[in-house]
C-alpha cells in the first residue's frame, strides 16, 4: 500500500508541476493584471534605476495651489540629476506591503538604494487593523515568492488576512483597551479609549467657549492615531521593517527610512504636550532601534508646519509643495552619504509656469486622475473618460495669482476629444476661487465647436482672463460631462499668455 501511495504522490507532484507550467505560461499574466495590478508599480521601475523611493499617498498628494505638484520622490531626484530616481507609490500601504513589492524587484536590477517611507501612524492599532487590509493583502497574494499556481491556490482558498470590517474594528478596539499607558507622573488615562472618551466629552472650545465639533473630532483623531507606546517586541510593523532590512542586506541595497512629518504643531495645540511627547518618544525609539540595525533614519517628525498640511481636519501625512520639498531635502541630505559626488543644491525660487500639458500617460499629476482609462487614447495608451457617472475630466489646478498680471491676459485651452454622439451638453469649465472675491465659474459649450463623432477631434478655445480672477488662489480647468455619453479627453494643453 505504501508503494502505491508513494507512486500516487509522485504522480500528483508531476501533475502539479505540469499544471504550474500551464498556468504560468498562459494564465498568470492576465490573473496578475486582474488581481495584483500593483505589480505594474514595480515593473515601471527600470533595471538601471539607482534610487527607488517607496511610499504611500504622502508621496503623491499635493494641494491645488502648489506651483510644482510633483511627488516627494521627484524632488529628491532634483538633488541628484546624474542619478535615476524612481518611485513605487501605493496609497494606504505600509511596510508589510513594501516588503512584498520590494521582493519583486528583479535580482538583475542595478538598484543601489531604497528609500522606505516610515509612517509613525502606521504603527497604531487602527492602521494595523485597518479595513483596507483585506483588499491590500488580497492584492499581494499572487506576487508572493512561491510558484504561481500555489499563489493562485492561496488566492482561491482565501489564504490571506481576510476579515470583515466589523472584525477589524473589534481588533483595534481590543488592542486599544489592552495597551495601557506607562507614563511618568500622574497621567490620568489608562488607555487610548479613556483618553479619546475624555476628549470627546470635554471637547475643544471655540473662541466663544462653545463645543467646537470639527476641532474636537480632529483632536480625537490625533489621540487615536498617535496615542500609543511603541513596543518593539510586539508591534507587527516593527517586524515588517525588520524584514525589509533583511531583504536589503541580502540584495546589498543601501537603506534609508524616511520617517514622515506629522502635524505635531496642531496635535500640541489641540491635545497638549502629553501627546506630542509621546510622538517624539516613539520616534526616538524607532530612530534608535533602526539606526542600531545600520539603517539611515531621516527624522522629519517636526519638520513641516501646520500650514503645509493639506488635510486640516484629519490626521494625514499629505503635504503641500513646501512640505514635500522639506521632506525631500532631508532625505537628499541623508543620501549624500552615498552619493556626495552627485549631489547638487536645489534652489526653490518662486517660479511660475505658463504652459501646461498632460498627455494622460506620463504620470503628470492633475486632479481626477482616477478618470484615466486605457479604453482608447489619442496618444500613448490612456485618456480621461468623462460621462456615465464620471462628471469631471482630469482637472488642471494652479495658483493663478503667482503669474504676473501682464502675462495672464488670455488662457488658451486645447485638447483632443472622442465623442460617440452629440447627445450631451459637455462643457469646458473654468473655475476660480480665492480670498477676497466671489467664486467664479464659466462653462464653454463643446459640441458647438467640435461636431465630429467617433473620431479624435481637436478642441481649441482662447479665453480672456477676467480681471476679477487674476488674483485667484486656485484656478481649475476641466471638462464637465454630466450626460450618459462617454467622452474621452486626451493631450490636454493649457497656455497662459499675454
Amino acid at each position: 500500500m505504501l508503494k502505491k501511495l508513494s507512486l500516487k504522490i509522485v504522480l500528483l507532484l508531476v501533475l502539479l508541476i505540469v499544471l504550474n507550467f500551464v498556468y504560468k505560461t498562459w494564465f498568470y499574466e492576465s490573473d496578475l493584471q486582474k488581481n495584483a495590478e500593483l505589480i505594474n508599480l514595480v515593473r515601471a521601475v527600470p533595471n538601471d534605476a539607482d534610487i527607488v523611493y517607496i511610499g504611500e499617498s504622502s508621496n503623491i498628494t499635493f494641494r491645488g495651489d502648489d506651483i510644482d505638484k510633483r511627488p516627494i520622490s521627484a524632488f529628491i531626484g532634483d538633488y541628484f540629476p546624474g542619478l535615476k530616481t524612481y518611485d513605487i507609490t501605493k496609497p494606504a500601504s505600509h511596510a508589510g506591503i513594501y516588503k512584498v513589492l520590494l521582493e519583486n524587484i528583479p535580482v538583475e536590477s542595478k538598484v543601489k538604494t531604497i528609500v522606505v517611507t516610515l509612517n509613525l501612524r502606521s504603527f497604531d492599532a487602527q492602521w494595523i487593523y485597518s479595513n483596507l487590509e483585506t483588499s491590500l493583502q488580497k492584492s499581494l497574494v499572487l506576487i508572493k515568492p512561491y510558484p504561481p499556481l500555489f499563489n493562485r491556490f492561496l488566492l482561491s482558498f482565501k489564504v490571506f488576512d481576510i476579515k470583515s470590517d466589523s472584525e477589524r474594528v473589534k481588533e483595534y478596539r481590543a488592542k486599544w483597551a489592552e495597551d495601557e499607558f506607562h507614563m511618568p507622573g500622574n497621567f490620568q488615562f489608562r488607555n487610548v479609549i479613556e483618553w479619546d472618551r475624555w476628549m470627546s466629552n470635554n471637547g475643544i472650545k471655540d473662541s466663544n467657549g462653545n463645543y467646537d465639533l470639527p476641532q474636537t473630532d480632529l483632536a480625537c483623531h490625533f489621540i487615536k492615531s498617535f496615542g500609543f507606546q511603541l513596543d518593539t517586541l510586539k508591534n507587527p510593523r516593527i517586524s515588517d521593517f525588520n524584514a525589509i532590512i533583511e531583504l536589503a542586506r541580502k540584495r546589498n541595497w543601501n537603506l534609508v527610512f524616511n520617517l514622515l512629518a506629522e502635524n505635531t504643531g496642531k496635535a500640541g495645540e489641540l491635545v497638549g504636550n502629553d501627546l506630542t511627547d509621546l510622538m517624539n518618544e516613539n520616534v526616538q525609539i524607532l530612530e534608535n532601534y533602526y539606526s542600531r540595525k545600520g539603517v539611515v533614519v531621516v527624522n522629519n517628525l517636526n519638520q513641516v508646519g501646520n500650514d503645509q498640511f493639506v488635510d486640516q481636519n484629519w490626521t494625514t501625512e499629505h503635504y503641500a509643495e513646501l512640505g514635500r520639498r522639506t521632506v525631500a531635502k532631508n532625505v537628499a541630505l541623508a543620501l549624500k552619504h552615498w552619493y556626495g559626488d552627485f549631489y547638487k543644491e536645489v534652489h526653490c525660487d518662486s517660479r511660475y509656469q505658463t504652459s501646461f500639458f498632460n498627455d494622460c500617460d506620463k504620470g503628470i499629476i492633475w486632479g481626477q486622475m482616477q478618470t484615466l482609462t486605457t479604453d482608447m487614447a489619442h496618444s500613448g495608451e490612456k485618456s480621461s473618460m468623462t460621462g456615465a457617472g464620471n462628471d469631471y475630466s482630469i482637472t488642471f489646478e494652479y495658483p493663478l495669482k503667482v503669474i504676473p498680471d501682464s502675462l495672464k491676459k488670455t488662457i488658451n485651452v486645447e485638447f483632443w476629444l472622442h465623442q460617440p454622439s452629440l447627445n450631451h451638453d459637455a462643457k469646458l469649465v473654468i473655475q476660480a476661487s480665492g480670498q477676497g472675491f466671489h467664486d467664479y465659474w464659466n462653462g464653454y459649450d463643446i459640441k458647438s465647436i467640435v461636431k465630429d463623432i467617433n473620431v479624435w477631434a481637436r478642441y481649441n478655445i482662447s479665453i480672456s482672463v477676467p480681471d476679477s480672477i487674476k488674483q485667484a488662489d486656485l484656478i481649475k480647468i476641466y471638462v464637465l460631462n454630466q450626460s450618459k455619453e462617454k467622452i474621452y479627453i486626451d493631450d490636454f494643453k493649457i497656455l497662459v499668455r499675454d
Binding site: 501533475l15 490573473d31 488580497k138 493562485r152 482565501k158
Partner: protein, 408 residues
C-alpha cells in the same frame, strides 16, 4: 425513556425532549418571525401590544443537529433504537464535524455504530474520499461561486434586465443552489469517508427527475427521508382517506419549507411543491403519463425538462427576500419581453464549466462520482484530476461566498 414500557411514563419524557429541542430551534430561528407577524396582527386588530424583537446570532447548523437529536429521541421512544449511555458517543453523533453545519442529517442507528468501530487507515477510503472532496470543491467553487455573482446581479435590480436575461438568472440560480449544496454535501461525505465513516448520499442528479415526487427522492435526500419517516408516516402517510392524504402532503411540504427559514417565502416555496406534487399525482392517475422510461430516452428527458422548469420557477420564492420581490420577478418576466435592458456579462469560461457540469450530471445519473471515476482508465482518471485541480485553483470565484445552506 428506554427503561419505561408504559406510554404514560415514556411520553412525558419524549415531550420534554421534543419541547426542549424544538423550543431551542424556535427560540433562535423563529422567535423574531413570530413576533413580527404577531405585532402586525395586533396592529391590524387594534391591540396595543408590542412583542420585542431579539438580536440573536443563529447557532450554526441548528436546524440540522436538532433534527438528528429529534430522530434519536423518537426512535428510542418507539423502541427502534437503544438509548446511548455513553455521552461521548451521543455528543459525537450530534456534532460529528463533517456534517455538523449543513448535513447530511444522519440517523443514530446508521452513524453511531460506525463511530464505535475501530478504523484503520484505508487507501480506498482515502482515494474515494478525496475524489468526492475534489469534485465537491469543483462544483462549489467553480460552478456555484461563479454563478453567484450573476444571480445576485439579477436579483439586485431585475427591472434593468429583459425577460431573457432574467430567465438566464433563474436558470443559473437553479444550478447555483444545486452545486452549492451538493458541493458541500460531497465535501462532507468525502471528509467522513477518509476517516472510514460512510455518510448517506444527499443528492442524486435531482434535475433529471421525471416529476416532483422523484425530485424530492433525489434532492436533499437526508431531509426528505427524515420528513417522510418522522412526519409523513406518523400523520398516516398515504394509508388514509384522500382528503387526509392531501392534508398530509401539504403539511409535510409546508413544514419542510419553514424548516429552511423564518420567512413567508420559504413557506410558499414548500407549499408550491406540495401543490404541484398533488397536481402531478392527480394528472398521472388520470392520464397515466408516468411509466418506466429508459434513462436518457426522449420521454425521460422531456419529463425531466418539465420538472426542471417547474422547480426553477419555484426557486424564485426560495431566493427572494420577500413575497413581493418574488412576484416582481414574475411580473418582469412578462413585462420585460422585448425590453432592451442591460445585458449580463457571462464570461466564456463560465459557459464551458456550466455545460460541463450539466454533462457531468447526465454522466452520473444514478451513479456516484467516486465509483464512476474509479472505473475510468488511469489516463482518463488523471486527466479528470488535472482538469478539476486546475479549474478549482484557477477559476474559483475569489470573493467570499459562504455556503447557502450554512444559514439554515
Amino acid at each position: 425513556m428506554e427503561k419505561f414500557h408504559e406510554k404514560r411514563f415514556k411520553l412525558p419524557i419524549l415531550l420534554v425532549s421534543l419541547i426542549s429541542n424544538l423550543g431551542l430551534l424556535f427560540f433562535f430561528k423563529y422567535y423574531n418571525f413570530a413576533s413580527e407577524n404577531l405585532n402586525l396582527l395586533f396592529d391590524k386588530i387594534g391591540i396595543q401590544q408590542d412583542i420585542p424583537l431579539m438580536n440573536f446570532l443563529l447557532p450554526v447548523g441548528i436546524s440540522f443537529y436538532t433534527f438528528q437529536t429529534l430522530s434519536y429521541s423518537i426512535d428510542v421512544y418507539f423502541g427502534r433504537q437503544k438509548a446511548e449511555k455513553h455521552l461521548g458517543y451521543f455528543a459525537l453523533y450530534v456534532s460529528f464535524f463533517p456534517q455538523l453545519v449543513a448535513g447530511p442529517i444522519e440517523r443514530f442507528s446508521r452513524l453511531t455504530p460506525q463511530l464505535k468501530e475501530k478504523h484503520l487507515f484505508s487507501y480506498d477510503n482515502l482515494v474515494n474520499g478525496l475524489r468526492l472532496i475534489i469534485f465537491g470543491f469543483f462544483i462549489k467553487m467553480v460552478i456555484a461561486d461563479n454563478l453567484s455573482g450573476i444571480v445576485d446581479e439579477i436579483y439586485a435590480a431585475p427591472e434593468k434586465f429583459s425577460s431573457l436575461e432574467i430567465l438566464k438568472g433563474l436558470l443559473f440560480y437553479s444550478f447555483q443552489i444545486y452545486s452549492d449544496f451538493s458541493g458541500y454535501s460531497l465535501i462532507a461525505i468525502g471528509s467522513a469517508r477518509i476517516m472510514g465513516i460512510r455518510l448517506m448520499d444527499n443528492f442524486n442528479t435531482p434535475y433529471l427527475a421525471k416529476n416532483i415526487s422523484e425530485f424530492w427522492q433525489r434532492w436533499h435526500i437526508s431531509l426528505s427521508t427524515w420528513f417522510r419517516d418522522y412526519l409523513y408516516f406518523p400523520l398516516g402517510g398515504n394509508r388514509v382517506a384522500k382528503t387526509r392524504w392531501v392534508f398530509n402532503i401539504l403539511v409535510v411540504f409546508v413544514v419542510s419549507g419553514v424548516w429552511h427559514g423564518a420567512n413567508w417565502t420559504f413557506l410558499i416555496w414548500g407549499a408550491l411543491f406540495g401543490v404541484i406534487y398533488l397536481i402531478e399525482s392527480a394528472l398521472n392517475k388520470l392520464l397515466k403519463i408516468e411509466r418506466e422510461y429508459t434513462p436518457y430516452s426522449f420521454g425521460h428527458i422531456s419529463l425531466a425538462v418539465k420538472t426542471f422548469i417547474i422547480v426553477t420557477f419555484i426557486w424564485v420564492f426560495f431566493r427572494s427576500q420577500s413575497f413581493a420581490e418574488a412576484i416582481n420577478i414574475f411580473k418582469l418576466l412578462y413585462n420585460n419581453i422585448g425590453f432592451a435592458g442591460a445585458k449580463l456579462i457571462i464570461p466564456g469560461y463560465l459557459w464551458v464549466f456550466f455545460l460541463t457540469f450539466i454533462a457531468s450530471d447526465f454522466l452520473l445519473y444514478n451513479k456516484r462520482f467516486d465509483v464512476w471515476l474509479g472505473n475510468v482508465p488511469a489516463i482518463g482518471r488523471w486527466t479528470v484530476y488535472g482538469f478539476l485541480i486546475f479549474s478549482i485553483i484557477v477559476y474559483a470565484g475569489i470573493e467570499n461566498f459562504p455556503f447557502i445552506y450554512f444559514q439554515f
